[in-house]
């Protein structure tokens, strides 16, 4: 069976979200290139949606108001923005929304790399809006805060970690020490086979520790022991390209552990994390709590 047929056989499982991330990407590549496969997938998806519609259920009281309040404060993406996936459903995010208080400054030096501390700028004070409802309703002042230029935004990172290429074997050892990365062995292993892989590690004062593996085409960001974001706020990952942040998705905290793959990553890009209103923002509305870059 050809590789094409192999991937094609996955269309059904893909339509049920029953594939892993690598398989998902393979299917999306196939569908982008093969109109016939795209048609079949469209049909299978419509069938899958009927499975969902068949078990419809009344949302709880208050859900509607919460959603409407949340979207009232959520900017819409620019049309055509973020080409992270060929799929019409955005790539998976990690878990639910729990923003954090702003972590402080630089902690441990980068692993295996030159000890380049970032500018020790105080972290942004990301005080969550004091709203009891689950919905995020930023204050008028917060909404009207003028957006900073990309360059300044980037420079205001509370912590900047610079990594450097390290020998593969050493990299594997170090990665194995990071529990949540270990849990992503398959995907991480894929990244590690990339000769361009760079490991960046950063302890964030009061804010857990973060690890990223950056390659010339993809990156994975993981963090442990992150404080929960305030109610109605989330961590959002950004790929910083030539000073401009591109959203790489909202990250949900799973007991302080977050994890996100950035599938659109290029040499010279950096990763940055901000705290944003639930649902994420099209552009950052706060300063990054951490920036991770290759040397």
């Amino acid at each position: 069976m050809s590789e094409h047929d192999d991937v094609r056989a996955l269309l059904g499982a893909y339509a049920l979200d029953a594939v892993d991330d690598d398989e998902r990407r393979a299917v999306e590549a196939l569908v982008a290139a093969d109109p016939d496969a795209a048609r079949e997938l469209a049909d299978l998806r419509a069938v899958a949606a009927r499975l969902g519609a068949a078990v419809e259920a009344e949302p709880p009281v208050g859900a509607r108001d919460a959603v409407l309040a949340a979207i009232a404060s959520t900017p819409q993406d620019a049309p055509g923005s973020t080409s992270r996936t060929t799929d019409d459903v955005p790539p998976a995010v990690v878990a639910p929304a729990v923003p954090a208080t702003a972590p402080g400054a630089v902690g441990a030096p980068p692993v295996g790399g030159p000890s380049v501390g970032g500018p020790s700028v105080a972290g942004p004070s990301v005080a969550g809006p004091s709203v009891a409802a689950p919905a995020v309703v930023p204050s008028a002042a917060e909404r009207s805060t003028p957006r900073r230029g990309p360059a300044r935004w980037y420079a205001l990172a509370a912590a900047v970690a610079i990594g450097a290429a390290v020998p593969g074997a050493l990299l594997v050892q170090q990665v194995n020490h990071t529990r949540q990365v270990q849990a992503e062995q398959q995907q991480v292993a894929d990244l590690l086979t990339d000769p361009s892989a760079v490991l960046v590690h950063q302890d964030v004062a009061d804010g857990g520790d973060v690890t990223a593996i950056l390659t010339d085409t993809r990156a994975v960001f993981t963090a442990e022991n992150l404080p929960d974001p305030d109610d109605g706020r989330v961590y959002q990952l950004w790929v910083v390209r030539e000073g401009k942040p591109l959203s790489a998705g909202v990250m949900t905290s799973d007991d302080g552990t977050v994890r996100q793959f950035a599938d659109d990553f290029a040499p010279g890009d950096a990763l940055a994390v901000t705290v944003e209103p639930a649902g994420g923002s099209a552009q950052p509305t706060s300063d990054p709590i951490v920036v991770l870059a290759a040397a």
């Binding site: 398989e23 299978l44 995010v93």
Partner: protein
Amino acid sequence: MPTLVVCATAALPSPSVRVTARVRRAPERWGTLTGVTNPARESVADSAQDLMAAVATGDQAAFASLYDLLSRTVHGTCLGVLRDPDHAAEVAQEVWVEVWRTATRYEATRGSVRTWVTTLAHRRAVDRVRAVQAQRDRDQRVLDASTERPFDAVADDVEQRLEQSAVRDCLGSLTETQRTAVVLAYYGGRTYREVASELDAALPTVKSRIRDGLLRLKDCLGVTA
């Protein structure tokens, strides 16, 4: 997170034996399914399409109407996978915010609004399931069998909630193995690898069962994208 899933499944004591034994009682239960109601969704589809166009321009009133149209489907889809009403409500809200945020990128050529929104709801619910599984796996806890939903629990739950619908009837038209694979994957939030492991079946076999089962459902339901 395929590795996690596989590890989690492997940690269970002989899951395939336990589950396959229970699966056997599924056929007659599904086989008694009767009654076809085929709610006309065409008018809904049309208005959803129009509403979506307005939502993409930032129209919050149109969004509220779209919500009213599809909120039961979104919540039900999340609840079907997550079972826990609080989790379902939380994920449903994330889904709706994402619908709003990405409405500008919705392309009608890729399927109906209903399909797009429902697909998003299912994917986010499954993301949540896997995030929880991953956490459990990281914590190295022994998997509590009661937190894993064996097939018969999935089937019971689904059967109750499907009530009298065309979907229920058409699921009954699948072969037992097709139905089991589709139900476990969709409502149980399993990967096909997990399904294969639970049913002690080969991976290509399970892939085929899912695809063939969906194609048969498509014919039975008369679904077009």
